[in-house]
Symmetry: C2
Subunit: 420 residues, 2 copies
């Protein structure tokens, strides 16, 4: 992609409305724009990162045996009345009447809709265990939408629902998801911690939160430096950890729940078990906030110049920057490197704009391309290029023949974890 064509309107100053750094940087780097309080448009660079996180999540859900489907945002109130949540859910639930005066809501979560599907389509224990998930837009009328996409009213979620014969089955599905979540956040290049949690409005007995560790996090947790156990609850610290505790802060990006029969009982989602008896499906549910993960990744990976994306979720991997766009030799050499990168499967941009070197370097740092290939005086007549690693500021000189190989190695060393 040529930067002269890319629709990525950047801002010099931090906008007033931004209360936290990820919000400010997403606006400044041209990743998002606000449409209304808590309602955002993802611009091309922002959408690319959103899609990368989505794809990692999708691959790991599939690997764990999940099957993807897509449920609607429009939910008939009848389903929510069956579980009693039509009454329980507060004004966060966006409600309206359709043209025939029937009550509807916009789904903030899909337990009712998936349980309705399950009771109609799951007949026998032979169909179990079953893991169904979607990556879909949800709605919640937050009393105070804030922090950009961190607490939005419209947001992208992955929600998976597990169906099992019994509690043992549920525990296995839960374990599978727990491990899948660990893989997701590892592959996103993020430091995370799973901690036992309260179940809240979703319900059920056992649940864990997944937190991205970041200094700006709102949740306090204690992590054992010896065994790496983490918890948000002081009373849960095991005696042998007491002397190794460190306090950290985290941002919740995922939550997994053992629901049991909380939804299948009231909605009569039964199956015929091997012993010939009708039993309620034993369920779990498992959510990841995709946009929230993106914001948390920035909270955990930035400096005063801008974003420092982990390679696996950066909008592009490499920016090629000719120092002096007016010099034909710089432009030509840069173009050559850029084409070679594209041919070799790198996701690259070229900053072909007529702007000062300083302006281009600053923008590249702000947007946070993991690697910058700088084409300057030395590059003339086939000479040396410079690679700047955004994460640590390191600069490496490399010959034009060696640039592809070096970038391949850097990608590996800096957390390239794309998988089949």
């Amino acid at each position: 992609m040529q930067m002269s064509r890319l629709f990525a309107p950047t801002l010099k100053e931090s906008p007033q409305e931004a209360e936290i750094v990820s919000h400010s940087l997403m606006l400044r780097a041209g990743l998002i724009r606000q449409v209304s309080a808590g309602v955002y448009t993802f611009l091309p660079l922002g959408l690319r990162t959103l899609d990368k996180i989505t794809n990692i999540v999708r691959e790991e859900m599939n690997r764990a045996g999940g099957q993807e489907l897509l449920m609607p945002a429009l939910h008939p109130a009848d389903l929510w009345k069956e579980t009693g949540r039509w009454q329980v859910y507060g004004p966060e639930l966006i409600r309206f009447k359709d043209r025939r005066e029937r009550d509807f809501c916009l789904g903030p979560t899909h337990e009712e809709v998936i349980t309705d599907l399950a009771r109609k389509e799951i007949r026998s224990y032979r169909q179990l265990p079953l893991l169904l998930y979607q990556i879909q837009t949800k709605f919640r009328d937050e009393i105070r939408p804030r922090f950009g996409i961190m607490r939005a009213r419209e947001f992208l979620m992955k929600d998976l629902y597990s169906f099992d014969r019994d509690v043992e089955g549920l525990k296995e599905s839960y374990e599978k998801m727990y491990r899948a979540y660990c893989r997701v956040f590892e592959r996103c290049g993020l430091e995370y911690k799973a901690v036992p949690a309260e179940s809240g409005v979703i319900g059920g007995d056992v649940s864990h939160e997944f937190l991205i560790l970041a200094e700006s996090g709102e949740e306090k947790l204690m992590v054992c430096q010896s065994c790496s156990y983490g918890t948000t609850r002081e009373e849960e610290v095991c005696p042998q950890c007491q002397t190794h505790l460190e306090e950290k802060k985290g941002i919740e990006v995922g939550h997994i729940f053992q629901l049991g029969t909380k939804y299948s009982e009231p909605m009569k989602a039964y199956f015929l078990d091997r012993d010939g008896k009708e039993k309620p499906l034993v369920m779990g549910c498992y959510g990841i906030g995709i946009g929230r993960t993106m914001a948390a990744a920035i909270e955990a990976n930035h400096d005063d110049k801008g974003i420092r994306w982990p390679v696996s979720i950066a909008p592009y991997e490499v920016a090629v920057i000719p120092v002096n766009s007016k010099k034909e030799s710089h432009r030509e050499q840069a173009e050559k490197v850029y084409r070679a990168l594209l041919e070799q499967g790198f996701e690259a941009v070229i900053d072909d704009r007529e702007a000062s070197a300083g302006y281009k370097f600053n923008e590249a740092d702000l947007i946070g391309f993991p690697f910058q290939v700088i084409v300057g005086e030395k590059a003339e007549k086939g000479g040396m290029l410079e690679i700047k690693i955004r994460r640590n500021g390191e600069r490496i000189e490399v010959s034009q023949e060696g640039v592809i190989q070096l970038l391949r190695e850097l990608k590996k060393n800096h957390g390239e974890t794309r998988e089949p």
Copy 2:
């Protein structure tokens, strides 16, 4: 994917509520399920086809220079009041108040939101032309939702918006999109026709509809057998076509509009032109109904046994079917072929269920896998397999060594058109 694990609940009988064949087949083949009138869940097989059409559309929009973004479904009423459409749009527009009593609607189209973005971010002619698009869920409270996902209340659309300096620029962007649309429907393996059309509530002067030709189509059109010109309006038939006219029926799946300044004028979306003057952006908009294309593809491609997917949009390309699942030799041979197919990059299922051969053949025909590899008696001891081509019913015997090569050729001949 193993059919024993695949969540694809099929139905023997056509459900009563299905008024047209695509609706019936999508329910019977386990592609969709209804949640409420005009509101559907896409099950795994249905979502795969939806994603394939989406990806073809995305590749062609990118190839034409489009940049993808993602706008919200929640639209503040203020924007719609600026263009007057808050008043003009009827009860199809789903409206509600948020918890602070502010008016919102669920976007049935995004001219207001994109024009708001454009007026804030496009300053100079240097940023033009600009093509921005999204693939996103839209809402329309149809007075009579029917025909399954063909006329739904919640539906997936691709909508692209072009921004140009002047009418000449708009015409170029429009031409580009016209050609991109032709490529999309060709790659989906569908017979289509572009015809001049009315602009309706979207507005503007020039517009074309893209119709998929199908006997069950609701729009009558005349196609010239000599020059392939098509039109829905009798008065537009050119004299030299008169003697070559054939009547066809079509289903509208795409619509492109030259909007001009219909939205940029009232919303004051101006840019600074080369001559130093402020001018309104000249816009076009271009929609494709993704779910609608899927339904139309079935209307145009089915027989009394089920769906006959074009290869490029089939949920899977190949089904491997052991004739007798109880025979270990059949199961083993089938498993071997299945693994070889996956290794070679085919999208394949294996019907590993304990069911009669007839049941499995019927299901494969219903779901419409383009190629069935049948592993029966002859396959024992490394003998011959049979390939059945769903589209024309042709059967070909092939050795186990030759099956991959033959399937590759069949894919090419039967409309494999995937592109970079």
